[in-house]
Symmetry: C2
Subunit: 119 residues, 2 copies
């Protein structure tokens, strides 16, 4: 967890006030967040489906990043208690609003990445 008393934390907050790009960056940065978002843009998925869709991610980190994304309101965890339950993760409208941003990042990457591959 973050320490809200650290210089690091204060600096982050201050920067967010000065530079809204930095704020955006903070909600999408994290080793696997973008990948999770991209997968969820295609369709909503369950925890296990995400795990299989993203090779290399561990349970712990998947859970952490999902929680962070959920806290930032980018995705919704739908656990329908009425009909048994299988929690589903899907993008919130706010999450969907990130699509152009991510496309912009992708476009720059495909153009300028040394050795470029898919996506």
């Amino acid at each position: 967890m973050r320490k809200t008393t650290s210089t690091n934390y204060e600096n982050e907050q201050t920067l967010h006030e000065f530079c809204s790009a930095a704020f955006t960056l903070s909600v999408i940065s994290g080793r696997w967040k973008l990948t999770i978002l991209v997968k969820l843009m295609e369709r909503e998925l369950r925890y296990g489906e995400l795990k299989h869709a993203i090779p290399g991610i561990t349970e712990r980190v998947l859970a952490l990043q999902l929680k962070a994304l959920e806290e930032d309101q980018l995705l919704l965890k739908i656990s329908d208690d009425t009909s048994g339950h299988l929690p589903m993760y899907s993008l919130s409208p706010l999450g969907r609003s990130l699509e152009p941003v991510i496309r912009s990042l992708s476009a720059w990457g495909t153009t300028h990445q040394p050795i470029q591959n898919c996506r």
Copy 2:
């Protein structure tokens, strides 16, 4: 410095191949990088000018982030050895090509940041 033998490093590389947005993210993420880039978009600056333009940054971190940006070819360090010398930092063409990406990040931030301010 990074350890090229860590799982963390391998995961990063693999992700870059799968997701070019993640690659882009890796070159712009870092506490102060965006701010540095934004300042340099306005005009080229010297080390000390950057230091004053970015309150809260320390010498060490400024130097580190400048070096990282330079290694990623986003900016040029112009030390004109002929005319005495005062090193100048300016965006490279590659750095300039990030402008639309950063604008995209800024736009999302200004729209969706809880309490919004300038930029």
